[in-house]
Amino acid sequence: MLKKLLAHVPLFVLGMIASGQALAGSDGEALFGRSRPWQMWLQDPKTPSAEAVYDLNLLLLYVEVGIVLFVLALLVYIMFRFNAKANPVPSKTTHNTLLEVVWTAVPILILVLISVPSLKALYFADSAPDTEMTLKITGNQWYWSYEYPDQDGIAFDSNIVESEDLKPGQPRMLSVDNVVVLPVGTKIRLLMTSNDVIHNWAIPAFAVKLDTVPGRTNETWIEIKEAGDYYGMCSELCGINHAFMPINVKAVSKEEFAAWVVKAKVEFAGNSPETSIPGKVAQLNQVAQ
């Protein structure tokens, strides 16, 4: 019985250790902004908030693996030392005040220690007062609408690229027709709402995950550290095509972004009023006047 149990215990331990290794190694590949096959740990963090969240998760991993291994060690020891063969006469001990105080107080201490960096990261990731530009995001069944109010209201919809239309190098289920181009090294405010049901705009590498709720506007911020493609998926069940409304942010240098803005104004000219609730409200106001 014990041998059998021990034989299946390594499953957990190996998994825990392997996930630690995966995060230490990063495979040396410059692949970020999306997940790798057999990935066992978080995606590489590419915003200040994501770095804080990443470090916190790392701390939690070590604490938690420690607790699991501690309990496992106790269990295994107990099963060897106190099985019916090894210990035929059971003790009748049912109290040990010191022990009970310790196993109440030590967890409290650990939790207090965890909560300090946790709350720090929470407040840090919540909002930045000095953002330089704004991106408005609107969830729809089943695509995203984006608007750049600081770039003369560039606006467009972003739909999934179907599997059969994929170009080489485009990942399946993550690629979109119109990518969101954003500058690196810029504090960007994200405002989110929805036109229909609740969706959730999420990019793991940014540690951004926020519901788009109809009738409400939610806010968060990012400052992307590295140029490249970042992918995410809708993260709140929103109906039949919930799995098929991906998010693709292309982070570029500030100069490239300025060039894109010039091009995008032409490409998406006349797009803006139809795609967003504020745009619709403005339209209705005009009609009313």
Binding site: S35, P90, S91, T94, E100, L111, C234, A243, F244
Partner: protein, 531 residues
């Protein structure tokens, strides 16, 4: 004694099962209902794992149907498997036996609470079959669940099914509370009750306080859908986030409703097979009470991404972390109960040990998710799926298996086939770990929940997970073989097959427990207190 015949009447057939007022028969009915629901809910989950084994849509082309499977699997497992098996089944069977009561306080109410649940199960199955089924997830968030986005009657059937299940549970909870408070045998003080009875008492209070909130929210959703109200409709001044607050004010206590009875079962089993009384009995009882109380003040940790203010999230982070303390007390007290014991590795004890370890694994990932900041990359991913399947899925199921193997002799008078039961244990426990452990990795890598297809990078661990589902399926089939063999050729069981460690009152009555028990109240005043 001619006059005794009347009291000893033993109805048979339809009269016995349809009109039953006997706590043991009603308990059996609940267990049978839970098994039927578990087969349906389990088949749904295997179908889901079949679809997810590889990227692409191979088996389920209709993604609404996929969402219906996800929804119905959740509803069935929560409301029609774990709750009936633990509270209705084991609660009905063993609370009166353990406190020395002849039956439940309200035997007829006991009957109606079972049949309301059976009707609820029928409505839930109907819901999946009409108008494309409810594709909302078990959380039923509006506006997705409103008439605009889920037209047809499916969601309405689902709401009514939950109303019936809720009414059934409220009646059952009242019955159990009254029984435990008023019908304990002489000498069975509150502080001498077995921990399983404690767990059922606390669970009943949680049901009584939480379910009316769900009923209110469901009624508001029903009138939103059908009668023109706009509680949750933003375009008419309502607020979809209000639903989430109401739902999770019920939903969080609900997860403790699911797991607390398992805590109770595990305490009995660990004590019995260690040959020792439970370590820190009062601490155990009040740790469960503390979990129940604090459980009402942490609900918004399910809503970290909905746009709550940062101070609100900070509060719910701190409050949620508090839960880890009484939970830790439970874990360490079980270990201390085993420490110094003379442990016999019978099948119930194997399940109890697996339970303790799996609950720790699921518990520590709960600490991660409790932190609103650490939760950002994990919310609504497979990490959450792995977490709650470990703590409430697996732990509850392992608790149910532990209870089944522990008490099946008392319920049927026959012992399970030991070798087969051990094989069942290994298939099931290895299977569920291969099934759910890789889902942590998927979630960490960023795979969202509730999707029928996924980016190709997630293919590897999804295949492993589906292989785990296959192993679990073998373990599940083996369980039904064990059940059949127990009835067909199981050995006759003594009144107390577990020996000295089994000190609770159900082991003083014959096996199988006769139709009426404790007709003369046992007096336990002289017995050593449970601590």
């Amino acid at each position: 004694m001619a006059y005794a015949d009347h009291d000893d009447h033993h109805p048979t057939g339809l009269k016995r099962w349809l009109f039953s007022t006997n706590h043991k028969d009603i308990g059996t009915l609940y267990i049978v209902l839970a098994m039927v629901s578990a087969i349906i809910g389990g088949l749904m989950s295997w179908y889901i794992r079949l679809e997810l084994a590889q990227p692409g849509l191979q088996f389920i082309e209709d993604t609404q149907f996929y969402n219906v499977l996800v929804t119905a699997h959740g509803f069935l497992m929560v409301f029609f498997v774990v709750m009936p098996a633990m509270i209705g089944g084991f609660g009905n069977w063993f609370v009166p036996l353990m406190i020395g009561a002849p039956d439940m306080a309200f035997p007829r109410m006991n009957n109606i609470s079972f049949w309301l649940l059976a009707a609820g199960l029928v409505l839930m199955v109907v819901a999946t079959q009409v108008d494309g089924g409810p594709g909302t997830g078990w959380t039923v968030y509006p506006p997705l669940s409103s008439a605009d986005y889920q037209p047809g009657m499916a969601v309405d059937f689902g709401i009514l099914a939950l109303h019936l299940a809720g009414a059934s549970s409220i009646l059952g909870a009242i019955n159990l509370i009254v029984t435990i408070f008023n019908m304990r045998a002489p000498g069975m003080t509150i502080h001498r009750m077995p921990l399983f009875v404690w767990s059922i008492l606390i669970t009943s209070f949680l049901l009584l306080l939480a379910l009316p909130v769900l009923a209110g929210a469901l009624t508001m959703l029903l009138t939103d859908r059908n009668f023109g109200t706009a509680f949750f409709q933003p375009e008419m001044g309502g607020d979809p986030v209000l639903w989430q607050h109401l739902f999770w004010f019920f939903g969080h206590p609900e997860v403790y409703i699911i797991i607390l009875p398992a805590f109770g079962v595990i305490s009995q089993v660990v004590s019995t097979f260690s040959g020792k009384p439970v370590f820190g009995y009062l601490g155990m009882a009040y740790a469960m009470s503390a979990i129940g109380v604090v459980g009402f003040f942490v609900w918004a940790h399910h809503m970290y991404t909905v746009g709550l203010s940062v101070d609100t999230r900070a509060y719910f982070t701190a409050a949620t972390l508090v839960i880890a303390v009484p939970t830790g007390i439970k874990i360490f007290s079980w270990l201390a109960t085993m420490w110094g014991g003379s442990i016999r590795f019978e099948v119930p004890m194997m399940y109890a040990i697996a339970f303790i370890f799996l609950f720790v694994v699921g518990g520590v990932t709960g600490v991660t998710l409790a932190n609103s900041s650490a939760d950002l990359p994990l919310h609504d991913t497979y990490y959450v799926v792995a977490h709650f399947h470990y703590v409430m899925g697996l732990a509850a199921i392992l608790g149910m298996f532990a209870g089944f193997y522990y008490w099946v002799g008392k319920m049927t008078g026959r012992q399970y086939p030991n070798g087969l039961a051990k094989a069942q244990f290994w298939f099931f426990v290895v299977g569920v770990n291969v099934l759910f452990f890789p889902q942590h990795f998927l979630g960490l890598a960023g795979m969202p929940r509730r999707i029928p297809d996924y980016p190709d990078a997630y293919a590897g661990w999804n295949m492993v997970s589906s292989v785990g589902a296959l192993i679990t399926a073998i373990g599940t089939v083996l369980f039904f073989v064990v059940l059949w063999k127990t009835f067909k050729s199981g050995e006759k069981v003594a009144d107390n097959p577990w020996g000295e460690g089994a000190t609770t009152l159900e082991w003083t009555v014959p096996s199988p427990a006769p139709f009426h028990t404790h007709e003369e109240l046992p007096d336990v005043s002289e017995k050593a207190p449970a601590e």
